[in-house]
Symmetry: D2
Subunit: 337 residues, 4 copies
C-alpha cells in the first residue's frame, strides 16, 4: 500500500500516519516528491486491522499495489494448474471441449444432444437443469429431474456432466449427478455459494460475472480455493458494454490476462457472448488462437424448438463441422483436442 | 411481439410463420413495407410456449413490445404503492430517511450510530450484519450477533431495522431482528433468494444490481411480488460505468423512469454511489429534488476506524447537518420528511 | 510518479532505474516493502523526456499521482472562476439559464423560441446552426443562415447566443454571431478545434464527450486554457452506459467532482441526458440541488414538428412552468436565478 | 418504421397518425394486438420530412427496422468490397499487414522501423505524424516533417504509407505523402473531416470510435462513401468498458458482425486494444482466426525510448517472430499473407 498525501498536507499529518503505522508494527518509507509526499508501508497491511488511512488528515489517496488473491495468482504456481474432472484434464495441452443444450428439456432431447456432441469429439456434456431467468414467468428448468436425464445421457455416451448449481442446499444432490459444478455469471459473487462449492470436492467451472472485472473474478476463484478446492476452471462469457450487436462483448483479452495473472485454466463460452449462432464459429476460433484451454458451446438437437436462448444454439451437425475447423486452428497453435 | 422479416424473406417464409401462429391460436397482421415485411402477433405470446420464431427462415429479428413485469408495473397501480414497515410508510409524501453504519462492528458502535441518526431525524437504522465482500480475506460481518445488536439499538431509539440478508436459510432468524430485509446489489438476480423473501411477510428493500438495467431490476421486483409480498421498495445505488472518479455512477434518471414505469417506491443510496463522503451531500439533495421517496445514508460514529467502506461514511454530526439541508430541498419539492 | 517493482525484480533492476533517474536530475526514494519495492520519483517528471520507465526490467507498473491539467485545476484558483459572457456571469451565485431549440429551423421558429424562453427568464438562447448527425442523410443544420437567425432573435429579445462550432475555419464567421461557442460532445477531443477556440476571445461551453472521463474532460479544458482563453464553462450532458431507458446516463456526481477538482463553472444539459421530455424536470431540479451553475434546456415552439431530437424538447409553456419550479429549488440551495 | 401505441391510446389517436401518414404518401398497416396496437409504415420514411411521430398522442415508441447506411451495407455488395491501395489489396484472400511506430520521431527511427517490418513481411508502414493527445502538454507529433520521413522510409523499402489525418485543411499536403489516410478513433464522428476524405481519392482506414456502436461506425463509413470514395477499410481497435486490465476491450465479435452487415473490409489493431505488448500476440492470432482482413501493429526499433504509447510497441524482432506465428494461423483459416 502506498499513501499519497495532499499537496496541502502538513508535517504533523505525516507524523500522525507514521505513528499509527509504527504502533501497528509496520515500517514506513517517506518520499518527499516535489509535488507530493508519498508514504510507502513496509510490512503486512493486514496488521492495520480496522484502521482506515484514507480518512486521516492530509491523505489524498491510498494505492494498493498487490492483488488481493493469493492461491489463484500465477506467482504461487508459475507453471499453471491442471484441473482434473475424473480422467479428463483441463489446462493441459489438449483443449477441453464442452457442449450441449442451454437447458435440459426432455430425456430424448438431452440424449440426442449427447450423441451429437460425442460424435463430434466433445468430452463434456453441458445442460442447465436449474435456469436462473430474468423474468419469473420464464421457464426455470427441470431441476433435479434434469440432473438425472443429464447423468443418463452422459453415462450412455461416456461424457462428463457439467451443470449449473444455484444454491448451497442443493449441492449434495447435485454432486450425485454432476462431474463438474458450474457457477453462473449471476452467482459469481454469491459468496455463500462459492464457499460451499469450495468445501465440496467437485471441480468447479466459474463463469465471469457480466460486469465483473478480471480482478473480481479472481477474487471469486479465491473464495473457492480458500476452502480447499483447487479444481477451479475460469470461463469467459462476455461482459456487458454499450454495444448491442451481440448479446455480450466477448473480452478475448481476458485469456492472455488470466494466463499472466493466474495459475487457473480458462475456457471460453462463445454462445452466451455472441447470442447469435452466426457468430459462434468466429469467436470459437478466436478463443483457441488466443490461448484458451477449451470451449463450452451450446448445441441443441432442434434449436428452433429450444425453450431458452434458442438463437444462440447450434445443431449437432453445425457443431461437428465447427469442431473440425477448431481442430485445425488448435494445431496451428500447437494444441491437441 | 413484432416479427421483422429479412428483405430477402420469401413468401413461403411468411406463410410458415402465419401457420405456426394460427396453430397456436394467435392472429397475425402482415404489413408489407417497401423495405421489409412486418408481422404483428395478435394475442398472448405465452401461447407460443417453446416455439422460437427468431430461428424461423426469413426472420431478421423479433421486437418485444411489452414489459415482462406486471405486478411491478405502473399500469396495474397508477397511483403508486406505499410500502408499510410497521407504522412507517415509504412512498407517501414524507421521505423515508434511513441511516447507519456500513457494517455492525460492536454494541457500542451501533448504539452510538442509532442515537446519532435518531437525533438527526432518521426513522430507520441500517447496518450490515452479513457483509458480502469481494475478497475472502476481508471482514465478513458479525452475522447473527450483528442482528441482535441492531435490534437492541433500534429498540432503544425507536427506529426500524433494515439489514441485508444473503441466503434463503437465514430468513427465519433474520425476521426476528429485522423490520425490513435488504437485498444487496450482488444478489439482485439471486432468484432463489428473491422468491424466498417474496414468501416471507417482511418488507423488502431491493437494491439495483451494479450493472442491471431498470427493466431487469423491475423483473427482480416481480420475482418478489409474484410470491405475494408487495411491500417492495427499490433502491438506486449507482451503476458500473467507465468513470472512476466515483465508486459507481449514480443513475439519477432512474428515479423519474421508475416513477413512470413502476408503481413501487424508490429511494437512493448516495453513499455507495459516491464512495467518498465529500460527494454525499450533493447526491442526497439531487435525489430528493429528482423525486426520490427517501435516502439511505452511511453514518458511523467514528468513520476513521470503520471496518468497511470507511471513506464513504459520515459522522453523526455530518449527517445531522446534511439532514437539515435535505429538509429545505424536500420542502422546495413539497415533500415532508 | 511512483514505480512499483515486480516481486521478482532484481537489485540490479532497481539500480538501473535509479541511475536513469539521477542522470535526468531526479531524486529517488526507495521503499523496500515486504511484498514489493516501490520507487518514488522526486522532482519534475517532465525531465524524463522520452524515457519510458514502464518498459525497464523489473517494473510492474507506474502510478501517476498528479493530474495532467494545471490551469483547469482547483488548486490554482481555489475560489473558483467566473466566466463572463458580455454582461452575464456564469459561476457566480445566480444560475445561468440557457434554452432554445436543438436546431435552428427558420426565422419564425427561432424568434418564437427566443420570445418564449426570454419570457420564462432565460438569459441565453441556444440553437444549433451546424448539426453533427450520426447519418449523412439526416438534416445537418442551416449553417451560417442559422447563425444570422439566432443573432436576430437574440438581439430582439436581449439574449446571449450560444451555438455549436465544428471546425477551425468557421470561427471568424461564427464569432460575428455568437456570444459563446459550444464545443459538442463529439468534438471534445478535436484538439485542433480546442486550440483554435482557445486562441479566440469568445467564451466557450465545453460539453463532456459521451464516453470521456472527468479527467479527460478537464484535459480538454486545459487545451483551451493553455492558449489563453480562460472563459470556459463545462457542461455535463450524460455519458454512454449499458442502460437504455434514457438516451444517456446523467452523471450527476460530475457536478461535485468538478467543484472539487476544477476551478471552472459547470452546468448541466438534462435534455440530451434524458432524451425524453418527461424526465427533464426531475433532472433539472436534481442538477440545481447538486450544485450546478446553470442549465441548458431544449425548448421548441412546436416540438412535434422539430427536425431533430424532437422527443426531448419542451414547449415554451412547459419551460416556463419548469423555470418556476427550478427557482424554488435554487432558493433552497441559496442560489439566485 | 413501426409505431407501437400505448395501451391507453384512443381510436382517434390512431386515425390521426394514419391521416398524417397518408398525407405524406405513405401507407399503413394496423395490427390490433391484444396488448397494444402496432402501426407499420409502408413506403419510404424519408417522405415524412420533419414530422416527428413519437410526439403524437397515444404513441409509446417508434422502432426503426432498417439500417441508416446503404452504401456500406452488405446488401448492396454481397460479395464484399476489396479496397485498393496502389498495387495492394485489402479484403481479398491475403491479409493486409501494417506495422510501424506509434509516432514518427526521427528519420533514423522510422527508417529502422520500416526495414524491420519490411523484413518481417509487412506491406504497409504506419506511423503518426499528427498525434491527438489527451493532454496539451504531451508530444503532439512531428507534423509535416513526419510525413516526409514516412514517405522516404516507405520509398526506400517498397511499403505503402498509412498515417493519421486530423483536419480538412491538411489533406492536400497529406495526400502527397500518404498512400492511405487513417481517421483516428477520436475523429470517427468528425463529420466534416469524413466528408473531406470522402471527396479525396485517397483510400481511408476508419478506426472505430472508443465508444461507438457498430451501427454508428458504419454510419461514419457511409459519410465517406456518400462523397464517392469507396476505398474504405474499417479498423477495430477496442472499446471503452469498465475493465481496466487492458487499455481498451477488443470487441473481437465486431469482425463477424461487420462481415454480416457490411461489404467493407475490416482489420484489427491489437496494440491499442491491449495497451501492453505482452497481450498483442494473443489478440493478433485471435483476430486472424475470427476472420479479420489484416492487422495493424505498433513496432518501434527501441520501444523503451518511444515518445508515446511505449508499453504497447513491439521490437522489430518481436514483430518478425509474431509474423511467423500469424502466418500459421492464417493458413489454418485458409488465408494468405
Amino acid at each position: 500500500m502506498i499513501i499519497v498525501m495532499k499537496s496541502s498536507a502538513k508535517e504533523r499529518d505525516i507524523e500522525n500516519i507514521s505513528e499509527v503505522l509504527s504502533k501497528h508494527g509496520l515500517g514506513v518509507h517517506i518520499s518527499n516528491g516535489s509535488a507530493a509526499t508519498i508514504i510507502g508501508i513496509i510490512g503486512d497491511k493486514a496488521k492495520l486491522g480496522d484502521v482506515n488511512l484514507e480518512l486521516m488528515d492530509g491523505v489524498e489517496k491510498c494505492v494498493p499495489i498487490m492483488h488481493s488473491y493469493k492461491l489463484a495468482s500465477r506467482d504461487i504456481c508459475p507453471e499453471g494448474r491442471i484441473a482434473r474432472v475424473g480422467d479428463q484434464e483441463i489446462g493441459g495441452n489438449a483443449l477441453a471441449m464442452m457442449a450441449g443444450p442451454c437447458a435440459v428439456e426432455s430425456e430424448d432431447q438431452i440424449m440426442q444432444a449427447a450423441l451429437g456432441v460425442k460424435a463430434a469429439g466433445a468430452k463434456f456434456l453441458r445442460g442447465g437443469a436449474y435456469k436462473p431467468r430474468t423474468s419469473p414467468y420464464s421457464f426455470q428448468g427441470m431441476e433435479d429431474e434434469g440432473f438425472k436425464m443429464l447423468r443418463k445421457a452422459a453415462d450412455a455416451t461416456g461424457l462428463k456432466v457439467v451443470s449449473e448449481v444455484i444454491a448451497a442446499d442443493q449441492l449434495d444432490v447435485a454432486a450425485k449427478y454432476c462431474d463438474m459444478f458450474q457457477i453462473g455469471a449471476r452467482n459469481m459473487q454469491n459468496f455463500r455459494l462459492l464457499r460451499e462449492v469450495g468445501r465440496s470436492k467437485v471441480p468447479v467451472l466459474l463463469k465471469r460475472g457480466i460486469s465483473s472485472t478480471i480482478e473480481e473474478w479472481l477474487d471469486a476463484a479465491e473464495y473457492i480455493m480458500s476452502e480447499g478446492n483447487y479444481n477451479v476452471v475460469l470461463c469467459e462469457r462476455g461482459i456487458r458494454t454499450f454495444e448491442t450487436a451481440t448479446r455480450n462483448t466477448l473480452d478475448i483479452a481476458a485469456v492472455p490476462v488470466i494466463k499472466e495473472r493466474s495459475c487457473l485454466p480458462v475456457i471460453v463460452d462463445p454462445s452466451h457472448a455472441a447470442g447469435k449462432s452466426a457468430y459462434i464459429a468466429a469467436l470459437s476460433m478466436a478463443a483457441v488462437a488466443a490461448g484458451a484451454d477449451g470451449l463450452i458451446i451450446e448445441v441443441h438437437p432442434d434449436p428452433k424448438s429450444a425453450m431458452s436462448d434458442a438463437a444462440q444454439q447450434l445443431t449437432p451437425e453445425g457443431y461437428q463441422s465447427l469442431f473440425e475447423r477448431i481442430k485445425i486452428v488448435a494445431q496451428a497453435v500447437q494444441r491437441g483436442i
